[in-house]
């Protein structure tokens, strides 16, 4: 079986995978990083969003082998020294989750939205940018509020 090497949350990892092994399977089954979720498995819901080389992508539609040599960040890699990332903090403060299944993808997408669009974000921009992430509990309202709050916090840092 082919071997794949990448950096996940700052650590070098190596694993034997099949050609068809998806990045999300590699993260969850090989590395035990089960924070990244598989929701729809059809590239619709965004529960599997991680960052590869700084860009948000759907890890259920990405081959593990295609990430050879890449830097991958998952939800597990966000908190530093026991402190939550401002986006995680904002999701908690704004009650931006109910069942929590979509949350890892929402948070990874939220950070990507802030990184790409600057730190003063309109509600309309956030709603448009959340096109690739589905939540079946919250009605999105508090997720939008959380991303807006985190953007302001990230700007201050």
């Amino acid at each position: 079986m082919p071997t794949v090497c990448m950096k996940v949350n700052g650590e070098d990892v190596t694993g034997e995978v099949e050609g068809r092994t998806l990045l999300v399977e590699f993260l969850r089954s090989h590395l035990g990083l089960t924070g990244t979720h598989v929701g729809c498995d059809t590239s619709q819901c965004g529960a599997c969003v991680v960052h590869v080389d700084g860009k948000a992508i759907k890890s259920c539609a990405t081959l593990a082998l295609a990430c050879e040599g890449s830097h991958v960040t998952t939800i597990e890699g966000l908190a530093k020294d026991g402190n939550l990332h401002p986006m995680q903090e904002a999701f908690r403060d704004n009650h931006a989750l109910q069942c929590g299944f979509c949350t890892p993808g929402m948070i990874m997408a939220g950070i990507d939205i802030v990184e790409r669009n600057g730190r003063t974000l309109s509600e309309a921009t956030i709603r448009h940018e959340l096109d690739g992430n589905m939540c079946r509990c919250t009605g999105y309202h508090n997720i939008v509020k959380a991303i807006q709050a985190a953007a302001a916090k990230m700007a201050a840092e």
Partner: protein, 263 residues
């Protein structure tokens, strides 16, 4: 998904060689269509030749042309400042494909080589009188798209870039399927001064030029002129989302919106 041998060549020549030698080889660019298709077992190639190793992305803008390398992602096309100034409608089209995560991976080369009947890019490629540059030759847009998922590409031919002509003004409007975000109908209008070109995607089996609409817009580039053109229903798509008649009606409405936003 059935297993396959995975290859990630670093040069175009190696990619062509791998494709020639594979029993049932399939090129992959961003994989945003291909991976889900393989997951559904609608495709089961023996070999995947991943073109991301070619690092063939980038955008070049001159006075008359915009050249986009085949491996350029939709997100890069949407965000490129020079391209946004030269052909704002093309940047806007790319910025509305799929969702942000899909746009970070999906590429222009992959999109046009796949030629999905409801994809956005083919409309821009045809309306903007583009030239598709491949590992073998240059193909004019209208000769490139041949039918449902069919292109003029030979089995061992790889798209390397797309060269767009810069119009005086252009606009694109689509009626997206709310679930898949693919165009139920998308219309790209491009005014070159000497001619107006209109390309329609999503309505039929393959992108096509709308000659009657072009004629009407040539004499009057307005929303009303677009709305006044009756679209002939020639083997239009008809499914649970929209009938052929509904799609034909949408062509006029989307053309009107494209004209109204053209710049």
């Amino acid at each position: 998904m059935y297993d396959f041998a995975y290859h990630r060549p670093a040069t175009l020549a190696d990619a062509v060689e791998l494709l020639k030698n594979a029993e049932d080889g399939q090129l992959m660019s961003g994989g945003m269509t291909l991976v889900p298709t393989m997951k559904q077992r609608l495709a089961s190639p023996s070999d995947i030749i991943d073109l991301s190793g070619l690092k063939n992305s980038g955008i070049k803008v001159t006075k008359t042309k915009v050249t986009v390398q085949a491996g350029t992602s939709h997100a890069e096309v949407a965000a490129n400042e020079d391209l946004r100034k030269a052909i704002p409608a093309l940047a806007a089209l790319a910025g509305d494909i799929g969702d942000p995560h899909v746009r970070n991976k999906g590429t222009i080369g992959g999109s046009i080589a796949n030629n999905d009947p409801a994809a956005d890019y083919p409309a821009a490629v045809v309306a903007l009188n583009a030239t598709v540059i491949t590992s073998k030759r240059k193909i004019p847009a209208e000769k490139f798209f041949e039918g449902l998922f069919e292109t003029a590409l030979a089995r061992d031919e790889i798209v390397t870039a797309v060269e767009f002509a810069i119009p005086e003004r252009a606009g694109y409007a689509k009626f997206p399927n709310p679930a898949s975000r693919y165009a139920m109908v998308g219309v790209f209008v491009a005014d070159f001064g000497t001619e107006v070109r209109v390309a329609v995607t999503g309505a039929g089996a393959c992108v096509f030029r709308h000659k009657a609409m072009e004629k009407a817009l040539k004499s009057d580039f307005s929303r009303d002129a677009a709305a006044s053109v009756k679209t002939e229903i020639k083997a239009f798509n008809s499914d649970i989302h929209a009938s052929a008649e509904y799609r034909a009606h949408l062509v006029g409405v989307m053309a009107g919106r494209a004209v109204a936003t053209a710049k």
